[in-house]
């Protein structure tokens, strides 16, 4: 009986994980998907180098990095380590759904969160400057949740 109960429990866990993973994979199949309200697609994304995305995305009113964002920033740090002479600007952005001044501060915070993460991977802060554009430079000008998720971003731009 005890053994049976254990199997039952394991089955329940297995089934629920299957369901959960089914959900997340379903979302990732389209090119313009979001998870929660963080953009996870590839439209609007550019590349610093092959396989190194130039930007990370944020949830509404939030400056926390997602797992995917950390992965992108690690790859960027790796790229910067290999290209010692390269300096970058981290541009912070917000969507159009906040007050202008708060968005300037929020976007500055987002850019710095990304910068700090790269610094923990050994990139000198001197190589990364930060600028906030608040809601002033959207990449997608539509007034839709998808556009807003693409606009809540921190973009790493090479300094020429």
């Amino acid at each position: 009986m005890k053994f049976n109960k254990k199997i039952n429990n394991i089955l329940i866990i297995l089934i629920s994980t299957l369901f959960l993973s089914a959900c997340s994979t379903a979302k990732k199949t389209t090119g313009v998907s979001t998870s929660g309200d963080v953009y996870t697609g590839t439209d609007t994304v550019q590349y610093l180098a092959s396989g190194v995305k130039d930007r990370v995305f944020f949830a509404t009113n939030n400056s926390a990095l997602t797992t995917a964002s950390r992965d992108t920033l690690r790859k960027q740090a790796d790229y910067l380590r290999k290209n010692k002479k390269l300096n970058v600007v981290l541009e912070g952005h917000a969507d159009e759904r906040g007050t202008r001044e708060y968005n300037l501060a929020l976007a500055e915070k987002r850019a710095n969160v990304a910068k700090d993460y790269m610094m923990t991977y050994g990139i000198s802060g001197k190589r990364i400057s930060v600028i906030s554009y608040g809601k002033e430079k959207p990449v997608n000008s539509a007034s839709t949740p998808l556009a807003w998720s693409q606009n809540r971003r921190a973009v790493t731009v090479k300094v020429k």
Binding site: N61, E96, T99, R100, Y102, L104, E108, K109, S143
Partner: protein
């Protein structure tokens, strides 16, 4: 500005406040506007170049500006001039009150002007039709090019006499003029008279500029500029055009406003992901840190006596409004409703704080008392924010953006004003799209 503009006010009749019967109730909004007749100003035949069309028509132009001002308040109903039976010069000497009362006028404005030796002399009188009495008589002498300001000053005097409140017509609004697609917006500082006339552009649009605010004397403007891609707080002298950076800290400075005495600028300084509020004394350049918190503290605004500051902070998790003493002590949260609250602005009377509120995907402009009680939402829309008070504390000007379609089309930004009663919401005329308005104080104090 005032240096250029000398007004000689000659009181050639005594005020007779005691006899007034008309009183406009400003708390009722536009429910029952007062019928007022604004007679065209009579142009004195002895004026230089009387035959010049510019001189001949000036009387009509001045009265048209006054009428437009009155109409915009929602408190007055300027009557159609076709119904006027008395000639302007005769009405100005002695109105036939029965005739004016027949066309339902309760108040009458008459006046005359004389153009002599490159000086414009304007006199006007306000009459109470029911009481058969003169309420004010004033005369102004100025340079002819200032005729619009004379019209605004006359409007203010009449408004003050009829409502018991200070006027707000002889004022200007500074704002950000916008053009181009949303992803590449070109922004310039622009200034205009309160009625949308006399627009002038103060920057060329080469760099992004945001959030201009007048100094109490209206001579200076502080704003955020991305000059050389370094977002910093700047100061601009409107007359000389001289600009200087005042917030040259090692990071972004933004959200600037003047202290009520004009001696300090209060602003946010963002560094390493944290925004706090600072003041800078414009004379000594002494910088003081006012808030110290790991959260975002921004959009500061002094109380009119300079003793308190309101600001928004997300220290509770989401944006809320706080007040504190001007040295940064006694911080108190005052907004507790559902939703997030931002851009608090202390009313020039000191009793109210105007704000932007976001709740369930809608943006509201509202007012609450400075202790956070008595919250009233005045207007709801897809996106609107950044209220700025008229100098008499009766109106708010703010900007509103429309929802854009999937391709970004259909986007616009315009200035709007609303009475704090919630009545008389209207769009301000601007030459271009516009945002971030800031209302000046009265130009002639």
């Amino acid at each position: 500005m005032n240096k250029l503009f000398y007004i000689f006010i000659i009181f050639f009749f005594k005020f007779n406040f005691a006899y007034s019967l008309i009183e406009v109730n400003i708390t009722r909004g536009n429910l029952n506007p007062l019928p007022i007749a604004v007679s065209p100003l009579h142009v004195d035949l002895q004026s230089d170049n009387y035959q010049d069309i510019k001189v001949k028509e000036l009387g009509g132009l001045i009265s048209a500006v006054i009428e437009k001002n009155f109409k915009s308040t929602g408190l007055f109903n300027p009557l159609n001039k076709d119904a006027f039976v008395q000639k302007p010069d005769i009405a100005h000497l002695k109105p036939r009150f029965e005739d004016w009362s027949l066309i339902t006028a309760q108040a009458l404005v008459t006046g005359k002007l004389l153009m002599k030796d490159d000086k414009l002399k304007v006199e006007f009188r306000l009459w109470d039709i029911a009481a058969n009495k003169e309420m004010i008589a004033l005369a102004f002498t100025t340079t002819p090019s200032n005729w619009r300001r004379v019209a605004h000053i006359i409007s203010d005097k009449i408004y003050e006499r009829l409502t018991g409140e200070t006027g707000y017509f002889d004022t200007r609004i500074i704002y950000v003029s916008e053009a181009g697609p949303k992803t590449q917006r070109v922004k310039k500082l622009a200034i205009m008279d309160q009625d949308g006339e006399n627009t002038k552009y103060l920057t060329l649009g080469n760099e992004l500029v945001l959030t201009p605010r007048f100094s109490p004397s209206n001579q200076l403007v502080t704003y955020l500029s991305y000059f050389r891609n370094l977002p910093r707080v700047y100061l601009l002298d409107i007359e000389t055009g001289i600009q200087e950076v005042v917030g040259n800290f090692p990071g972004m400075t933004f959200a600037p406003r003047f202290s009520p005495d004009g001696k300090k600028i209060i602003m946010s300084f963002a560094k390493d992901g944290n925004s706090d509020i600072y003041t800078m004394d414009l004379e000594t350049r002494l910088v003081e840190k006012i808030t110290e918190h790991s959260s975002i503290d921004t959009s500061p605004s002094f109380s009119p006596d300079g003793k308190y500051i309101c600001f928004n902070s997300d220290r509770s998790g989401l944006q809320q409004i706080y007040t504190m003493k001007s040295d940064g002590t006694s911080v108190k949260r005052i907004s507790f409703g559902n939703g997030i609250y931002g851009t608090p602005v202390w009313s020039p009377r000191g009793d109210l704080i105007a704000f932007t509120k976001v709740r369930a995907g809608k943006f509201y402009i509202g007012v609450m008392r400075s202790d956070g009680t008595g919250e009233r939402l005045l207007t709801e829309n897809f996106y609107q924010e950044a209220p700025s008070w008229s100098p008499n504390g009766r109106l708010l000007v703010f900007y509103r953006e429309t929802k854009s379609g999937k391709d970004g089309k259909g986007f616009s930004a315009k200035l709007w004003s609303i009475d704090i009663t919630g009545y008389n919401e209207k769009q301000l005329e601007t030459e271009t799209d516009a945002s971030d308005p800031s209302w000046s104080s009265l130009l002639s104090k």
